[in-house]
Symmetry: C2
Subunit: 325 residues, 2 copies
């Protein structure tokens, strides 16, 4: 009787989107799919579980592996599944006949292993939130920040977006310098510019619109700092963001661990402006930016299944994921 | 038939507490009472209306003015009653047989007139929120900030408290300098200090506790900056708060209006640390701090009833309010 093929499912559950990958052991990615936010802290356990289930179903259907046994589902998730999201996910996956055990892992560690297979180094993440970790023996042994939009997340998308809208409103209000961020913000909000000096209607309209959404949605305005190329206020915000992220990295640095430094999350992984500033500040031999934590989720998944992830397996995971994406 | 005595009720509805005063025209304060938060934006229209009604009932009962006709109720309130709080208040006052018309006024203007009867000048308010106004012809003609905790309120109690807890958490996290704010915050939260270097349990416990309440409650930690006398991080926060308030004042300054500058709200009215810094920065002939907006609410109330508030009436209102408080 031929041996039944064995696979694992890796899920990278992020604040903006969720990625699922079906990986045949030891390291061949077979199927891939994307769904909405899988962060239970941001959208609640129900919506996060729905995104996870949708991405897993999509990945299994693209993988076309009938008869393959799914040994486990490894989920890289903020808070590592510490909320009541686990039973929600289990029940949704049981609904499609998938009753493999769930294993939760740190989303920060998945970002780290998206950039390297090496068991020692650092990751700095700036997406909607922000934080830094140190990795030793393949495990996350130290963390800085990641304290959420109200209390920390310095240098994150929320942090940058909040500074952007406050700078624009201070400009409109006469409290701050004139900045190119102001017309960009008003345009994004669909609010007309002031009709004459002292016209406060644009301020009132912008304030109404911005308070109508949840606070974390200020992260949507971070991109304006990248658009306002060369603007003094925007440059200051990006400089301060990079400096804040450098402080988080410095807080987890250990003399015995040199690197690499992996940069991830929507701000660092997709926008060179902050990543370049941070790379210049962090004086590491090797700095690499990753777009998301999907490769790292696969690394963690095959490792949980007993496979040692060396340079060759890492290379195979990366190349085969690129091929199915 | 003797003329029936006529009085007005003045209400100073603040974010922390609400004050009501019964004033016999032209300017004799007869009764006074305090209730809870009367800010409909902070606590909702129902709770704000309940506080207003409770303070009015209390003031009427201490005034002991049976047979006196209440001509109107003037309410100094954030947003000047722009929410649906008005019908709530009307119905509650009708329930005690008080059907006088309600008139809404700016809470910032009430702060201004708590410090002076002069028709031209400025007020800077820093309580839970913060902003500055210019007054001409007895009316509020310009305003800066007052944009709420998420988008503005620079130098406010929330703004200071947010900086305090973030500085303490950055200290615990290794991202920021050691500060006396850290033990003060942990003590206030009832969270034990770290048991050894790298112990993150205090961070986790503090973060859980601080996210459990509404964001604006970070204003409760502003006082720690005053307690941490001589601490570098605390001094920096208070310097920055005073500088932010000075920018708000500068934004409403007009060459034709010299002063006075009235300082109010819980941060400026009751704590000399920020008020002294701001007074030094604002270079006005006359700067005076007021504890709340009660006198100013009386000024606005008797003015609405047709009384000109000159120096003599202002003096009578101030002295008689002190006597009944």
């Amino acid at each position: 009787m031929p041996e039944q093929p064995i696979a694992v499912v890796a899920v990278d559950a992020g604040g903006t989107s969720t990625r699922a990958v079906v990986v045949r052991l030891p390291g061949q990615c077979l199927g891939y799919a994307v769904a909405g936010s899988g962060n239970p802290i941001a959208v609640g356990p129900q919506a996060a579980a729905a995104s996870v289930a949708e991405s897993v179903i999509g990945a299994l259907s693209t993988a076309e592996v009938p008869g393959t046994r799914i040994r486990m589902v490894v989920l890289a998730m903020a808070g590592a599944g510490s909320t009541d999201v686990a039973p929600e996910i289990s029940s949704r996956l049981a609904g499609i006949g998938l009753d493999a055990p769930l294993v939760f892992e740190s989303d920060l560690l998945a970002t780290y292993f998206s950039g390297t297979h090496r068991p020692e180094g650092y990751a700095v993440i700036a997406g909607t939130g922000a934080g830094a970790i140190r990795v030793e023996d393949g495990r996350q042994v130290a963390v800085a920040d990641g304290l959420g939009w109200l209390l920390g997340d310095e240098g994150s998308g929320f942090w940058i977006g909040r500074r952007v809208v406050r700078a624009a409103l201070a400009d409109l209000d006469g409290r701050g310098p004139s900045t190119a961020l102001t017309p960009l913000m008003l345009d994004r909000l669909g609010v007309p510019a002031p009709s004459e000096p002292g016209d406060r209607e644009p301020i009132r309209a912008a304030v109404r619109a911005l308070y109508a959404g949840p606070p974390v949605r200020l992260a949507d305005y971070a991109g304006l700092a990248f658009e306002a190329d060369g603007d003094g206020a925007a440059e200051l915000i990006l400089d301060d963001a990079a400096a804040a992220l450098a402080r988080s990295l410095a807080a987890v640095r250990s003399p015995g661990v040199s690197g690499p430094v992996v940069l991830g999350g929507g701000i660092l992984g997709r926008s060179p402006q902050v990543a370049d500033r941070l790379a210049a500040a962090c004086r590491a031999e090797e700095v690499r930016a990753v777009a998301d934590g999907a490769v790292g989720a696969c690394v963690l998944a095959v490792r949980h299944a007993g496979t040692l992830v060396d340079a060759a397996v890492f290379q195979q995971l990366t190349a085969s994921l690129t091929a199915v994406r």
